[in-house]
Symmetry: C2
């Protein structure tokens, strides 16, 4: 999205609501991660694989963003997690006020780690601060190793890049070192993990990353 | 994208320019296809695989839409095709005026089949008429069989759905009949092809589809 479509007032309005969200989350000791990627890169599958490793350590909450349907939320709910589904009705990203509304519906007193799964889109979600503590993006290796320079903003704005579906590496043309190099050119501080929900490779490193991020972000 | 972000005037403006584009293309006997998909679903690779089969039959032109970089255009140019690169500078879709400008730069008298490769995004491109004759969308099977109901507009607006990267079918969980059924629920007239640029499966059917579409659309 672009200045022509989203005027300054709307952006400033989003920043204000994001600030409110952030204060409210901080005030309650909640650490929030915003998960972003193109459609089908595996955000929900990652959450489904991650939650069993975390649910004894943290009180988890999930906000699911989708254009339509509550399928992703249903997959999370089956794991016994408090989940709120935002259906954006066609809007291609979450914004701070959508998350603000969702926060009113969740039992925040019972949450200390909140995942916000954004709408599948490599562009617009990166432009909207939700009040989160950090951004994690997934790039499925089936999408190609040329994506960092083609969609730079999301790489620039993320703390962690997860190269996902690494089990398919022998079946696609994806140069991991090229993708990493180009991502680091855009964002030298970006951390990068390789992961496969199918085989479980990289899940332990991802859980360790979450634990470290949680304590660095002032989680209880 | 949504009414809140794109006001009626802007949409109406886009429709007017799209009408102009359509008249200009029709007047010159050019048939135009708008290729849309999520990032990394294989639009450029499809063009690269397609062009050698078409270049003796048609005078081809390509308009490439990307946020940044001209990598896709370079891949097309290597095949000896007239190509124009639109760098949207962050805008997550092509609009009619971008295509209008590109049409000024191409030698339209020397083109009879024009491919417009949209920005990689399953949402916003579907909302912007470019003046094309038809829309073709790609869904890589690595993105998951749940995408039609989650991103319905693009499925509703397309003439043809290409299920791409079909060579990976044994390596991912993708129920082809489910994906087709859900896509047809949204758009009963949607045509569907299965394709792999790696193995060449489905390329012949895709070329036949183009030939038929070209003559049905009044191509010379």
């Amino acid at each position: 999205m672009h200045e022509i479509h989203v005027g300054k007032d709307l952006r400033e309005h989003n920043r204000e609501i994001a600030r409110e969200n952030r204060e409210k989350l901080k005030g309650r000791g909640i650490v929030a991660l915003n998960l972003m990627s193109a459609p089908g890169a595996g955000k929900t599958s990652l959450l489904v694989s991650t939650i069993p490793h975390l649910k004894d350590k943290y009180n988890l909450g999930v906000i699911e963003g989708d254009l339509q349907t509550s399928r992703d939320a249903e997959r999370i709910k089956e794991l016994g997690i408090d989940v709120y589904q935002i259906q954006t009705g066609g809007v291609c990203h979450l914004d701070a006020s959508m998350v603000h509304s969702a926060m009113h519906e969740l039992d925040l007193a019972a949450i200390d780690l909140l995942f916000i799964e954004n709408v599948g889109n490599l562009v617009c979600p990166a432009e909207f601060d939700l009040g989160e503590d950090g951004r994690v993006m997934l790039l499925s290796i089936t999408e190609g190793d040329d994506k960092p320079k083609k969609y730079p903003l999301m790489f620039a704005e993320s703390r962690l890049l997860i190269l996902n579906k690494i089990d398919l590496l022998n079946h696609v043309d994806f140069d991991i070192s090229r993708a990493k190099r180009e991502a680091l050119d855009i964002n030298p501080r970006l951390e990068i993990l390789e992961l496969s929900c199918r085989t479980g490779d990289g899940i332990d490193e991802w859980i360790s990353w979450i634990d470290r991020f949680y304590s660095e972000s002032g989680g209880a």
